[in-house]
Symmetry: C2
Subunit: 220 residues, 2 copies
């Protein structure tokens, strides 16, 4: 599958690129193509050293999306809608599956994140901004970036997937399970994604307060 990771040069983008590249053709997107290429080179080097499948490419966000069947918006909340708008303006979004792992979240105190309930849901905002024909999936919010980027980490998490389109949901669930020891669970429709967006500040706060490694979630 051809996957573009918009904003794939950092945070959750790195782990997604490294892991998805094992069974897919991954393109890193960035606002500057050169920066994307640089990140792709770094990721490929790392994968080669481990004897793993590489071939990650780097492009501008727009070119990356144009060349992909699945577009992952690995950008911060404040860049979510502007990024979608820029992709639309460039004619880069037509009939792809778009995945949002974006979490509206603000750091209130040194060690306390709260879900930005006042902002609403990133999924809802992306959904409103996307043209018809593009199928949105909301997932991956609960994946801790540093553990995803550590290829020795087997993960062992559950990932919740919300979408209105069943085929798009199934595709995202398959991709989730390619990331490692991951069970993908059906979280319902996009309207229900606010619940999974609010898991992320909870996970971050719990890890800080209880002095654990970055935490993810398993439903038992």
């Amino acid at each position: 599958m051809k996957i573009a990771i918009i904003g794939g040069t950092g945070d959750i983008g790195e782990g997604l690129a490294l892991r998805l590249a094992q069974q897919n053709d991954v393109i890193i997107g960035s606002r500057e193509a050169a920066k994307a290429q640089e990140a792709a080179d770094g990721y490929n080097k790392l994968l080669k050293e481990r004897g793993m499948r590489d071939g990650i490419r780097g492009m501008s966000n727009e070119e990356a999306a144009k060349n992909a069947e699945v577009v992952i918006l690995a950008v911060r909340y404040q860049f979510a809608v502007p990024t979608v708008q820029a992709l639309i303006n460039a004619g880069a979004l037509k009939d792809q599956i778009v995945i949002t792992p974006i979490v509206p979240m603000s750091k209130q105190k040194l060690c306390s994140f709260t879900p930005a309930a006042q902002y609403g849901s990133a999924t809802k905002e992306c959904s409103a901004a996307l043209p018809e024909g593009v199928r949105l999936v909301s997932t991956f919010q609960s994946l801790p970036a540093p553990r995803l980027a550590d290829l020795d980490d087997k993960l062992g998490f559950d990932v919740i997937v919300c979408a209105d389109d069943e085929e798009a949901k199934k595709t995202a669930m398959k991709l989730a399970e390619q990331l490692g020891d991951i069970r993908a669970l059906d979280g319902g429709t996009l309207a229900e994604a606010g619940l999974i967006e609010s898991l992320t500040p909870l996970l971050i706060n719990l890890a800080i307060k209880n002095k654990t490694k970055p935490l993810s979630i398993k439903f038992v």
Copy 2:
């Protein structure tokens, strides 16, 4: 420890009573003392049959609270504040630790619960209604009632505990770990309890959609 379970005749109250009775003196509270006594008799019979510690008593909600160091509000969201008010009016709340496992939640469709964000947080409302000197703890929301009531279930969950008073938080964390194979995690202050209240509709929805047993949570 002397523990009153207000509304302890059903739902989460049953499992809490059966399990906490092993190391504590548990009193079931109900609006009708006779109903509380009847529930207590049933629980004691069940415990005796299994050769476990019994001695659960039944009283009116007010008498139960008056005789306890820890008061668990095992009532539905719509009865939360009225129940607290009734206890205050009867002079039954002075310096106890009060635990709220209450979740504001509404059933929207046949198989979809949403957190009643429009209602705010049950913890916040209970906190505002309680007199000074009473220390509130918000926890146990993510415990599935049927699994808690099944004494063969080892659980194996994490439970998040939020409180402003550190001693009250530690007491509740200790009680949580007496319920079974449970790890109690510090969830911060009462202001942060909205996050854990919203886990419950997520857990219920996931279990329905993915056709699993009732689910709880483990942070990994």
